[in-house]
Assembly symmetry: C2
Homo-oligomer: 330 residues x 2
DNA sequence: TTGTAAGCGTTATCAT
DNA sequence: ATGATAACGCTTACAA
C-alpha cells in the first residue's frame, strides 16, 4: 500500500478527503508519496466503507431518435455538476428488463425510470428496497417522485387550432396504449372534440412511433374515400411518415391535408412544409429528473414530488397557417 | 446477514455464483432464505473481492444530435448483451474533463474515448494505469485499440462526384482542426483536387458543427461575388444551415449551388432538396467499440487492434442528381 | 460438501 | 494530530 510508502498509516485517508485536521507537514509528506507512487484511492473500497456509490442510473425503453438524446444530455449535465456518475440502460422491452433494472439498482444510489420501461410491480419492488426512484414521462407508482410534460391541454389546444382552420375530419395517429404520453395526447384530442360537440371523431389509429409506421398507416388511410382532412400525429417521426405518404398519394399539405407532430425535433422546421408541432423541454426533463433524484437521495424526503413541465405549441405551416417559410425563427 | 437467517455461512456465496458444488438440499435451503429475506448480494463487496466492476465507460465530447445517440445505442446494446453496465460521460470541453475521465476510469474495467474528448497525455496516463482503452473516431494514441469510419476516400469520391456534375468552385465548410473526422474529410477533399490538377481550390472555411454555424458561414460566403458553386459540408447539420442560407439568398439548390453533407441523419432525406451525404455505420461504431473493449479486457491482448468501418455515399438531389424525390429509398 | 478465516481498500471510532 | 483496529459485504483458499 501507498501507506507504507509514505510513512504514515490511515492518515492518508484523512488527507485524501481533504480533512484539514492533519498537520501541514504530514499532509505534504503524504502528497509526495501519492505522487511518487501514482496512487489512486479505490472507489470500491471507499464506496463499500461509506455505503454509497456516488452514481445514479437512468433507464430508457429505447435509445433511438433525437428525443432521448436530449434527455440524456440534460441528465448527464446535471449529474456531473453534482459529482455523480451516470449509468445508462435501455430495456428494449426485453423479457429480462425487470432483472436488468433491479440489477442496475444496486450499483447506484438512485434510479430514474423513463416511460414504459418496467411494470408498476418493479417500481414498487424498488421502492420497497429503499431505492430512491424518479419516474419520468410515466404514470405515478409506488409513491416515488415524477417529472412529466404537459400533454393533454396542449394536445387539446392543437386540435382546436386545427378546427379553427376549418378542418373537419381530424384523425389521431398513434397508439394511446403504447406510451403514457401518447395516451395523454389522445385525451387532449378527445377533449377538443367534446368541447366542440358538433365534431365527429374517429377512434385513434394505432401505429408505432417511427416514421415508417406513420407512412404505412397513412397510406392505408388515404386509400379510404372518407379520408381525414387533418391528422394529429403522436410524434414528429410519425408526421414525417405521413408527409411522405401524402406526397406519394398526390395530396398537398396543408391544402388537402393538415399534419401536426409532437416533440419539435430538429428536422421539423426543415420539412416541406415546415411542421406544426409541440415543443417539449426535453433537456429540462432530464435535468430536473437528476435534481429531484439527488434531492431525494440526500434529504431522505418522504413526500413524493411531482413536477409538470410546460410544453409549447409551435405553429408552422403544416397546419394551414402561413405558407411562406419563416426565415428568422431564431 | 442473510447467512445467519438461512442456516449456513459463506456457502451462500457458492450457491450464488451457481456453483454446482453445493448439496442440492443446502442449496434449496439457501434459496428459501434468500427469498424470505429478499436478500441481494452487494455488488460493491463482490467487486472489491473479485477485483473488477463488470462495467465499462464511454465518454463523448458532447451528446447532442442524432449522431451520438446512435453510437450510444449500439454501445449499450452490445454491452448489455455481455452483461456489462455502462457509465456515460460527456466532457463538453470542460476544463475538468481530464480529471473526470481519470475518475471515471476507476469505476470501470475499461473505457472508450470518443473523438476529441481528451488529450493524448490523458490517454497515455490511462494506458499506463493499465486501463483498457478503445479510441473511437480519434487518432491513435498510447497504443490502445481504435475504431474509425472511412472518411478520406469517401470524401474524395464525393468531391469527384461534384466535379462530374460540372461544378467548378467547390468549397469545404467545416473546421479540419475541430475533429479528427473533419480533418480526414478535408484531406479527401484535397485529394480530389490534387487528382484533377486543373481545379483550383480554396482553403477550408472553418465553422462549428451546428446548423446555425453553417447558416452563418454560408451567408457570409454568398455575399462574395466569387461565391462557390458547390459546398462540401463537414456534416449534415452544417449542410442544413447552408440550405437555409441559400434559400434566404435566393439561390436554388442544386442549380445555383450544390450542397453535400455527412452522416446521413434521419432528416437528410426529408430536406428540400433531399441531401446528398455519406452514411456512417454509427450503430456498428458503438457496437464494435464495446466488443473490442470487452475483448481487450478479457483476453489481455497486448497488440492493439485498429478497425476501419466502411462508409457509403448516399446520392440524393442536392448534388445535382435526379430531381424527383425517390419514393422507395428503403 | 461445507465451515473458517484471511483478504480486498477504504472509512470511522477510539485511543493515545 | 495520528496510530490501531473494527467494520463494509463479498470471494476464496484451506481445513475439516
Amino acid at each position: 500500500m501507498a501507506r507504507r510508502a509514505g510513512v504514515s498509516i490511515a492518515t492518508v485517508s484523512r488527507v485524501h478527503r481533504n480533512a484539514d485536521l492533519v498537520a501541514p507537514a504530514t499532509r505534504e509528506r503524504v502528497h509526495r508519496a501519492v505522487a511518487a507512487l501514482d496512487y489512486r484511492p479505490s472507489r470500491l473500497g471507499r464506496s463499500l466503507a461509506r455505503g454509497h456509490h456516488d452514481a445514479t442510473g437512468i433507464v430508457f425503453p429505447d435509445l433511438s431518435g433525437p428525443y432521448y438524446s436530449a434527455v440524456i444530455l440534460g441528465y448527464e449535465e446535471a449529474s456531473a455538476a453534482e459529482g455523480q456518475s451516470v449509468l445508462i440502460l435501455a430495456t428494449h422491452r426485453r423479457a429480462a428488463s425487470a432483472k436488468q433494472v433491479l440489477d442496475l439498482a444496486d450499483r447506484v444510489d438512485g434510479i430514474v425510470l423513463f416511460g414504459r420501461t418496467v411494470d408498476d410491480e418493479v417500481v414498487e419492488a424498488l421502492v420497497r428496497r429503499r431505492v430512491p426512484v424518479v419516474l419520468v414521462a410515466r404514470p405515478i407508482a409506488g409513491n416515488s417522485d415524477s417529472v412529466r410534460t404537459q400533454s393533454r391541454s396542449t394536445a387539446e389546444a392543437l386540435t382546436v387550432h386545427l378546427f379553427e382552420h376549418g378542418y373537419e375530419r381530424v384523425a389521431y395517429l398513434g397508439d394511446p396504449h403504447a406510451s403514457p404520453d401518447a395516451a395523454e395526447r389522445w385525451q387532449g384530442f378527445l377533449d377538443a372534440h367534446r368541447a366542440a360537440r358538433h365534431r365527429r371523431w374517429r377512434p385513434a389509429i394505432a401505429c408505432g412511433f417511427r416514421e415508417e409506421d406513420g407512412r404505412a398507416a397513412a397510406s392505408v388511410l388515404f386509400a379510404d374515400r372518407d379520408r381525414p382532412d387533418a391528422i394529429v400525429c403522436a410524434n414528429d417521426e410519425i408526421a414525417m411518415g405521413v408527409l411522405v405518404a401524402a406526397r406519394a398519394a398526390g395530396l398537398t399539405v396543408p391544402d388537402d391535408l393538415a399534419v401536426t407532430g409532437w416533440d419539435d425535433i430538429p428536422a421539423a422546421r426543415h420539412l416541406a412544409p415546415p411542421l406544426t408541432t409541440v415543443r417539449q423541454p426535453m433537456l429540462d426533463l432530464g435535468r430536473r429528473a437528476a435534481e429531484i433524484l439527488r434531492d431525494r437521495i440526500t434529504t431522505h424526503r418522504i413526500e413524493p414530488l411531482h413536477e409538470l413541465l410546460p410544453t409549447e405549441l409551435v405553429v408552422r405551416s403544416s397546419c394551414g397557417c402561413s405558407y411562406h417559410t419563416k426565415e428568422a425563427e431564431e
